[in-house]
Assembly symmetry: none
Homo-oligomer: 182 residues x 4
């Protein structure tokens, strides 16, 4: 059992649930049944622990997008992307919670500034490469809107509306993007 890995996992979970600033390292240690000293032994500081977590999730995102989809049509790729977004959103709320938290909160945004830029460029590029193939016109704008729409759905689903009708919205969105890419 790699304690370092366990610390990262637990910290991710707690940061997601309670927020970064509202999660003392002591809480991470207690949950992990590990001494306070150990966390400092493994991570230079709380901030650097956060950065490591964020980089790990970025890697995940990159990998999902890199899997060979050479043979797919852009329509298929869009379809798959939406499918995976909606199923992930339901299955792993904490993952989205965490990323929203980190992007929005000024403190964490400062700590993660470069990493956020890096990740969001990647996502924009990946999305744009799809829309480019669909219809090069306005592909940047369409990509931005596409991303914003999904982010907004995640935000409203996770943080605002208890009775957010995710399934119906998924259908609606899928229909919209599958037929005309708009």
């Amino acid at each position: 059992m790699d304690k370092r890995e366990r610390l990262i996992e637990i910290a991710t979970k707690l940061f997601s649930e309670r927020g970064f600033e509202n999660t003392p390292l002591s809480a991470v240690c207690e949950t992990a049944n590990v001494s306070k000293g150990l966390i400092s032994h493994h991570f230079k500081s709380k901030n650097s622990l956060l950065r490591e977590i964020f980089m790990k999730t970025t890697k995940l995102i990159v990998e999902i997008n890199k899997t060979d989809k050479v043979n797919q049509t852009p329509q298929e790729r869009l379809l798959e992307l939406l499918e995976s977004f909606f199923s992930q959103l339901e299955a792993d709320k904490l993952f989205f919670q965490f990323n929203l938290n980190m992007m929005v909160h000024p403190k964490t945004r400062e700590v993660l500034n470069d990493l956020i830029k890096e990740r969001s460029s990647f996502i924009l590029e990946a999305t744009k490469s799809i829309f480019d193939k669909l219809d090069a016109k306005n592909s940047l704008i369409k990509s931005h809107i596409f991303i914003a729409e999904l982010d907004g759905i995640a935000l409203n689903y996770l943080g605002i509306y208890d009775d957010f009708p995710l399934k119906q919205i998924k259908e609606h969105i899928m229909k919209k993007y599958i037929n005309n890419g708009n």
Copy 2:
């Protein structure tokens, strides 16, 4: 010069810029050139100050939506709503920053839970009442998507992409909603 009002204003600004938890009351006091004691004299606690601020912004939102638009067609209302959203978003970033912050962060969400529910119900209702008149079919889903889209745009504009092409996106969105209400 009403110091209470000034404290609210300054706190709003600082909470928006730095986040709630990352803004000590001492920072508010220093900025307001006021003793630490005074803030406790006027507000029972930091949380209650936050609640007061949030309620104030809710009132603003409600009022904007209440202004007599009896004679407007739903199309006109939608147009106006989008116009005001995009111009506000540019003019008063802090206002959106604040609201995003408070919705996303677990700690503030806990403190504001009831107020958030209340406000978001109102916004959903107000939006739905427009879509109802446009085309009753799926009006709830469309409202949710509409709100999510705008939230997502705010989120990406304010927090993620430095070079977010707001103007073009505005045009795109306006076109989309004005022509077919989709």
Copy 3:
């Protein structure tokens, strides 16, 4: 309605119930429905308010002991004193609570030092004058023990034993002192 008098009354009650240090002046003001400024207008400080209260209760004690008992035998006086002690103890717990509090707590003892000395000398004298008449031998010692016994009973009754058998103890004590003054 003399507000000054009401403030004293309410302060006495609250100081008795919660203790001096644990009772903010703001609590006194709220209970009295009076502004914070007023209490400072009437009393130089919290300490001086305390001193005034203590002096008032001393006056009461002195008066009770001064009422003409010229014609009474020492036995009758002792009887009456015990009777009044036990009935008071039951009827006005707060009065005893207050006095115990003030005597025991280091902070209040410091503030009231001179007044405590004054009052306790008086009580000792008054008691000794009775025992002197009963049997001059060891009257000082007997007085001290008598006072200590009553104080101890108050302490145990009010502060320690929920089921303190006050009535039976009263009988026991009365019998002891009435028959032989021991």
Copy 4:
């Protein structure tokens, strides 16, 4: 040098001398030459530190009473008890001061409520078991009076009369209880 133990010792001393509420933890730390953080490291809160101290003194009291006195007559036990009370009272004023303080002050009584009940039941039982053997009649009442008398003596000696004639009172009390158990 166990700092935790030292903190308890010093806190006991200061709480006794100045009272619980009148002793900031900072005073304990300064006296112990220790940082403010350390006290929180060892004790969950100021209240829990107080509880720990109180429990420790209860243990002491229990142990004193538990030492094998199987062979003693009740008269001998009473004698010993009084001897130890009076010598302790002179030797360790702070110990009594502390206990009186904690029993009388409303705030500390609230914090220690259960522990006070527990301890005072024990003391009553221990005392009653002696009086039972002396003369079962009225043993409960006699025990209560016995305890009250000693408490009252401590109270008057420590807190009220500077010139309390402890030695003579001791003699008087000893004579009273040794001859007839009254």
